[in-house]
């Protein structure tokens, strides 16, 4: 029953993919009328004008180009021509650094705020104001104070991934079931041991949910941040290929951004399953 459902779902998925690729292929076939022109002029105009080829690459073009990239992911021919692997590695490294810094700040801070009603109330207005700020709005300030575009990008990741983690940690810690706390109290468990043996495991699923939201946001933001700071990274690659008018590479980059984002989410989902407990 379950496996047959899974099989049917897989078949539908593949059918949808095939339909999508098929429509894409048909829509980008060379159908436009070919204009007659002098050979010199034709050279300037490119294939769109001379062979009626669509300006939008078809799935076969993208596939071929993707294969080319996958064969040499790590080449480095100077600042504007690096392999996709290198660009993705830069982006992942920035996201990883900013995100880890945010984890190191958000979880202990969230713990403190969650355990102290005073801090919770005192810091609430700040959090409420800072949370809705678009992370990119911090960019000029970061560039001005840090004076390093790469670190500024990391800062932007830090600032955008800290809020969901902070708020979820606060919520998770503050809403640990009273009876579990009472168990620890009747057993005369000290504050530190209580934090690690009762509150942390009880709040862990909520904290992990926050971490999962954060990694998603961080990956969304890095593309935009790298378009701004430039130099390296998948976001810069997208913008650079747009300037090169290589729609094929843009599409490939979009696909890869999606895949990496999914992988990051899956990693966090795996961790999340480890700490979830059935009640």
């Amino acid at each position: 029953m379950n496996s047959s459902l899974r099989l049917r779902a897989a078949i539908v998925s593949i059918a949808l993919l095939a339909a999508f690729l098929g429509i894409w292929h048909l829509a980008t076939r060379s159908t436009a009328p070919v204009a007659t022109m002098s050979p010199e002029y034709a050279k300037l105009m490119g294939l769109t004008a001379t062979q009626g080829k669509s300006a939008m690459p078809g799935p076969l073009d993208v596939g071929a180009k993707l294969w080319e990239h996958l064969k040499r992911p790590f080449y480095d021919n100077g600042p504007n021509d690096k392999g996709l692997g290198i660009q993705l590695a830069y982006s992942i490294a920035r996201v990883g650094t900013g995100y880890l810094l945010a984890v190191l700040v958000a979880i202990p801070l969230g713990f403190l705020i969650g355990m102290s009603p005073l801090l919770s109330r005192a810091l609430d207005p700040f959090i409420q104001v800072l949370k809705p700020i678009s992370p990119l709005a911090w960019m000029p300030l970061a560039l001005y104070t840090i004076k390093d575009s790469s670190i500024s990008a990391i800062f932007v990741i830090f600032i955008c991934s800290i809020w969901p983690m902070l708020l979820n940690t606060v919520f998770g810690v503050a809403s640990v079931r009273k009876e579990w706390i009472n168990v620890a109290r009747t057993l005369e468990v000290g504050t530190i041991r209580r934090a690690f043996t009762v509150i942390l495991p009880a709040a862990a699923p909520t904290i992990l949910t926050g971490m999962r939201i954060s990694i998603g946001i961080a990956w969304l933001v890095i593309v935009a941040a790298e378009m701004l700071v430039g130099g390296t990274g998948i976001g810069y690659f997208v913008w650079n290929e747009w300037n090169n008018l290589s729609i094929t590479n843009v599409i490939i980059a979009i696909l890869l951004i999606g895949i990496v984002g999914m992988l990051l989410d899956q990693i966090l989902a795996r961790f999340s399953r480890l700490v979830t407990f059935p009640e």
Partner: protein, 310 residues
């Protein structure tokens, strides 16, 4: 009442209400228990039973008064007073063994893993959960979860056990079995126990002393009923004892009518010297409703509703 192992001395609990007024749940509450005694508290919801238990446990502090256990005023929780929670309060991310071991290692912090495990295992065996040590609470039935709660409470070898309606969430059959177990364990170990219950039969079966509380707010301890049934009473023939229905009717009458009217009817009630009711000894019996010889009650035991006009 010479040996006062537990003595609650004039405690009150008040909460700040709206517009500066305070709500008094109860005040000037005096209550004492001897070592090894099993006491049940019966009263309607809102009379502050759970608050009394939480104060005894140290989870809550009284607004006034003090609680003295074994000659010392309590402040805060203690490993000497184990609590069995109504909702069992097991840590769902720990196994059965892990839950009990958590309590054991909290009491004896220097013990190594093997010793903690062996000690925890003893108590898991005691409550009849051998073989389920490595299950998580979510894999257990309600009765089994409460057994783990009992094992956890007993494993720290407390001076007394506090139980807040421990069996109210269980089905009748499981409840009966667990009552038997608790009674056996308490008799065996001479445990002092304080239990809140809504179940009159549970109180009659388990308790040596039954505290009857009037309705809140402003609840008070109305009477202490001594259980006249023999110590070696069994579940099966409990209801055949000649004093069983007198006792049961007395408690039910209290719950049905007197818990509401008690405060108005007895303005001279002294909370420090709460009358002790000894069913079957007419000279000392306060309740006039108890008519164990009444033929109507004898022919319809358990269904009779004695007249409530006293």
């Amino acid at each position: 009442m010479t040996d006062k192992f537990i003595s609650i001395e004039g405690i009150a609990k008040r909460y700040p209400g709206r517009s500066g007024a305070t709500t008094t749940i109860f005040e000037n509450l005096w209550l004492s228990m001897a070592r090894g005694e099993f006491a049940c508290v019966i009263g309607h919801s809102g009379c502050g039973k759970t608050t009394v238990l939480n104060i005894l446990a140290g989870l809550d502090a009284p607004s006034e008064g003090a609680v003295i256990v074994d000659g010392q005023a309590i402040s805060g929780t203690s490993l000497d007073r184990a609590v069995i929670f109504q909702s069992h309060a097991l840590l769902p991310w720990r196994t059965v063994l892990g839950n009990v071991a958590y309590a054991v290692s909290s009491k004896w912090r220097s013990w190594d893993r093997a010793r903690v495990k062996a000690h925890a295992q003893t108590f898991i065996d005691l409550v009849g959960l051998t073989g389920s040590e490595h299950k998580r609470p979510s894999e257990l039935s309600g009765g089994m979860k409460q057994r783990v709660g009992i094992a956890r409470a007993l494993s720290i070898t407390p001076k007394m056990m506090l139980m807040d309606e421990p069996f109210s969430a269980l089905d009748a059959l499981t409840r009966g079995t667990l009552q038997d177990e608790v009674r056996r364990i308490c008799l065996q170990t001479g445990q002092t126990a304080f239990m809140i219950t809504h179940d009159v039969d549970e109180a009659i079966y388990l308790a040596d002393k039954i505290f009857l509380m009037t309705n809140g707010p402003g609840a008070m301890l109305a009477e202490v009923v001594e259980n006249p049934l023999p110590k070696d009473r069994g579940r099966t023939d409990l209801h055949r004892h000649p004093l069983y229905y007198a006792l049961r009717n007395h408690i039910i009458d209290f719950l049905v009518t007197r818990s509401k009217t008690f405060v108005a009817e007895r303005p001279d009630h002294d909370p420090r010297n709460v009358p002790t009711v000894q069913i079957g000894k007419p000279g000392l019996t306060i309740a006039s409703d108890a008519k164990p010889e009444s033929p109507r009650e004898a022919s319809w035991p358990g269904l009779s509703r004695p007249s409530t006009s006293s």
